[in-house]
């Protein structure tokens, strides 16, 4: 039990060290090494598969297959206006949410509304873009002058 506690303590210090390192170099937590992340990426970017296949028997064309396929996550599909099966209700809140442009926070990796992340800060970790910082400084400068 005692040993466990010691290990636990060591773990915390390591974690703390990691956290401080992260604060100085701003690396996203997410690393795209796993299969789940690979799938995430493909679905996020979207994948186009087009194929023309013909099969002929004894010189006579028997079968022709033309495939135009697009593979994407719901969000990406909605953004690029891919057609959904008939009967899909596109008026729900989730679809409207999907149409809002989002960006991954460079620090914590969470998906945040692009405008908010660029102009204000990340609501999760507080990361600020160069634009937001500049704007803040300009505001402070105006206040000082007044």
């Amino acid at each position: 039990m005692k040993r466990k506690a010691v290990l636990g303590a060591a773990g915390t210090t390591n974690q703390m060290r990691d956290e401080t390192m992260e604060n100085t170099t701003l690396k996203p937590e997410k690393d795209y090494s796993g299969l789940a992340d690979a799938i995430d990426r493909i679905l996020d970017k979207g994948l186009v598969i087009n194929a023309d296949i013909t099969i002929d028997v004894a010189g006579v064309e028997l079968l022709g297959i033309k495939i135009r396929a697009a593979l994407a996550s719901f969000e990406t599909a909605a953004k690029y206006g891919l057609e959904f099966p008939t009967g899909t209700n596109l008026e729900t809140a989730a679809w409207k949410e999907a149409m809002i442009e989002k960006e991954e926070c460079p620090q914590c990796g969470k998906r945040v509304e692009r405008e908010e992340l660029l102009n204000l800060a990340c609501p999760w970790c507080g990361w600020e873009s160069a634009k937001a910082k500049k704007r803040k400084r300009a505001k402070a400068g105006v206040k000082m002058e007044v």
Binding site: A38, K45, V48, R68, Y80, P106
Partner: protein, 109 residues
């Protein structure tokens, strides 16, 4: 403070490359039986990301709506060379990157 581009590790880099470059497979198979052409298969296949597909003019499924802002973004946005975040191309070249501050000098208006 330094902002580092997400590390390009194995699988992610591989996927990015494959999807961004696109893959074309052109295969034809012919099976002859005692000099008589019995079966022939021709397959022309293309595999790529949406961005590459749009740039190279690949066909999209029927019914795809091309007027959404996302399509416009594909053509106008470019990733920052330092942090990899995307901005409008002219903005990136003239004002620098508003995300990481690379070359950043917005118009004082």
């Amino acid at each position: 403070m330094v902002i580092v581009k997400p590390e390009e590790t194995g699988l992610k880099e591989l996927l990015d490359r494959i999807l961004d470059k696109g893959v074309a497979v052109d295969a034809s198979v012919r099976i002859d039986l005692s000099g008589v052409n019995l079966l022939g298969i021709k397959a022309r296949t293309i595999l790529s990301s949406f961005k590459t597909a749009e740039e190279t003019g690949l066909d999209f499924p029927k019914g795809t709506e091309f007027s959404t802002p996302a399509w416009k973004d594909l053509a106008t946005k470019k990733p920052c060379p330092v942090c990899g975040m995307e901005s409008r191309r002219e903005d990136l070249e003239e004002e620098g990157c508003p995300w990481c501050g690379w070359n950043y000098k917005p118009d004082e208006r």
